[in-house]
Amino acid sequence: MTDTESPQLVACNNPDCTVAETGLCLRSIDRYQEVCPDFKGSAIDSANQTASPSTEIEKDTVPFDLAEPSPRRFWSGQELGIKDAESIMRSTYTHLIGIVGLTNSGKTCFLSSLYLRLCSGKYPLQKYLFSGSRSLVGFEERSVGLRWWEDGEMPDQLSEHTVMSDPRSPGFMHIRIAEATQFCPKFELLLSDLPGEWFRELYLNSATADRLDFLRRADVILLFLDSAELLDPERRHNHIHANRLIVTRIAETIDVDRRIPVGIIISKIDLLKEQELDIDDFEGIDVINQEVTNQGYTPRVMPIASFSCCPELISNGHGVEEVIDFCLSRRIEPPKFDLVPSKKYPAFRSFHMIQSSPEQKLT
């Protein structure tokens, strides 16, 4: 740059990003000039203050006018991406709960119900207390219906990071709970929050299984069955059939360890209660139970009513605490072989198995 050339500042199309002032990309992408979708390489001539598109931005020739010091940034408060979850899992043992189920099967309502039982003071959990969360904003927004999957193109991979302005992204909701006992042991929970569409695509096409590899690290899998579907004779059988296929994919394609507990969650049982029905009245639940058993897992059926249309018959949040009990009841010990994990057989349920690596799949 010669003395006659004015220094160039760079800008970002995202109005919330301060990369022009701080050099730090809001999406936490190091090579943002090349990778970040918001950074279009608009170079602002500081003398003329007009934006002109540039074709190539060379890293070393883009000086920054650091007008303001960079703020201290915290987590987004929403669902955690893989890298965000990793930092928690590195610091302490974390219970990864794989929440599985088709669209509208009650997955998000379960998350909201859990949160409400902790924060509302009404229908409190009996055994657990709230001890922290990096997803508080996300829990609040889901609970009032403000954070739903957007119409249009569904994200096709787990997020690495999330930022405040992101739309809802596939990731993990974080919450820490403590036992309401003298010594108050704490449990870090990461509950997967994924679109139901992913599970439909899973059973239709095994090629989509890679993005669900994290289930192999899960401490427990919760498979949600929708009572509303079970009640409707025209939808019941397809619902059961689809869930059987999901179970098969989890076992045969993703190859989740058979010792991982599987909870079969019958959601919205308030609808059954309202019609004086019970889960025993539905043979299809037995069919799923048997499918899970045949695949080598040990299932447990748990009915829940995250929100009840007839609270006089069955309370709001019924069964949610029992599901948490189930999730925390067992901790899988690694098999006692190979003190040093080989490259062919990666360490049992080690975190890196969350990221798909075909050559490392267990054979």
Partner: protein, 297 residues
């Protein structure tokens, strides 16, 4: 004698009573009757004296003292001892705290107070408190969605900055931010003392005051209460009630007249829980004394 520097953050959203407490605290320190007393007059008191003028004239302060980014530095001594120190109270407005929560960041300039931070006072006030999610309302919304009465909540999604988050959610996140920032800044993070101040205690219904400040938090901010009780390796907390002048200067003319005819410097009170029952004190330095570890655990 070492004059250690102690910074205390004053946390809370807009209109939660932070500024009026600081003004009242200043008057109490100057009065030399409390547990914490003024050791010397600070060089610069123009900003706070402007608000003192308002209070002594019968009006509450409107907003944060002085310019944004200012700090209040108070040389203090502890009654009955020769311990001296410098109390640093940075002046962060409620709007700045709200922005920190919404934007998930705070200015780098705030970090300079972390090194000597002994704790914080978190202000909540009943008439601006955003209640926790109403279970019944949420259940109603979701039941309707289930029944197909909504096509989808996507249409209802407002800009997140317009969402009114419950007070307890904001406070928990502020405390998580603070704990995280101190852990990153200091080699041996201390146990952080958190004084929750329920401001405007005189505005509460009698039934609400009978349960004391701790009882008020347990009932109205259950998430915050659980958070503090289960994180006793990170925080030590205590709850206070506060009434700066003991009544309503804005809407109660009779009270205002009595206040002005009396001694405003001795008005108001702090409520503490003693043996599970609320006790009234005239010493406005009590929350500060507790933060400094002088008064009680």
């Amino acid at each position: 004698m070492n004059e250690a520097r102690y910074s205390i953050l004053v946390v809370g959203g807009a209109e939660t009573g932070k500024t009026n407490y600081i003004i009242r605290l200043w008057l109490a320190l100057k009065d030399q009757r409390g547990m914490i007393r003024l050791a010397a007059l600070p060089d610069q008191i123009e900003d706070i004296e402007a608000d003192v003028h308002r209070l002594l004239s019968g009006a509450f302060a409107g907003r944060t003292i002085g310019e944004l980014g200012a700090e209040f530095v108070i040389p203090f001594r502890i009654d009955g001892s020769e311990i001296l120190g410098e109390l640093v109270v940075p002046d962060f407005s409620g709007e700045e705290w709200d922005r920190a929560f919404l934007n998930r960041q705070w200015p780098e300039s705030w970090d300079i107070y972390l090194e000597h931070c002994v704790g914080c006072l978190v202000f909540v006030r009943s008439n601006v408190l955003v209640a926790p999610l109403n279970w019944v309302e949420v259940a109603g919304l979701l039941i309707k969605a289930r029944a197909g009465e909504f096509e989808g909540f996507g249409d209802l999604s407002p800009d997140v900055s317009e969402t009114e988050f419950p007070t307890q959610t904001q406070v928990v996140d502020w405390l998580q931010f603070l704990s995280h920032a101190i852990e990153e800044t200091r080699d041996s993070p201390p146990l952080l003392r958190v004084g929750i101040v329920v401001a405007g205690w005189d505005e509460l219904e009698k039934e609400a005051t009978e349960q004391g400040p701790k009882g008020y938090i347990e009932k109205n901010l259950p998430l915050l209460n659980q958070f503090l009780e289960t994180n006793d390796t990170i925080f030590r907390f205590r709850v206070f009630g506060s009434s700066v002048v003991g009544g309503d200067l804005k809407h109660d003319d009779q009270f205002r007249n009595r206040y002005l005819e009396g001694n405003p410097v001795k008005s108001g009170y702090i409520i503490t829980d003693v043996d599970s029952s609320p006790k009234k004190s005239k010493d406005f330095s009590l929350p500060i004394a507790w933060l400094l570890g002088v008064q009680g655990k």
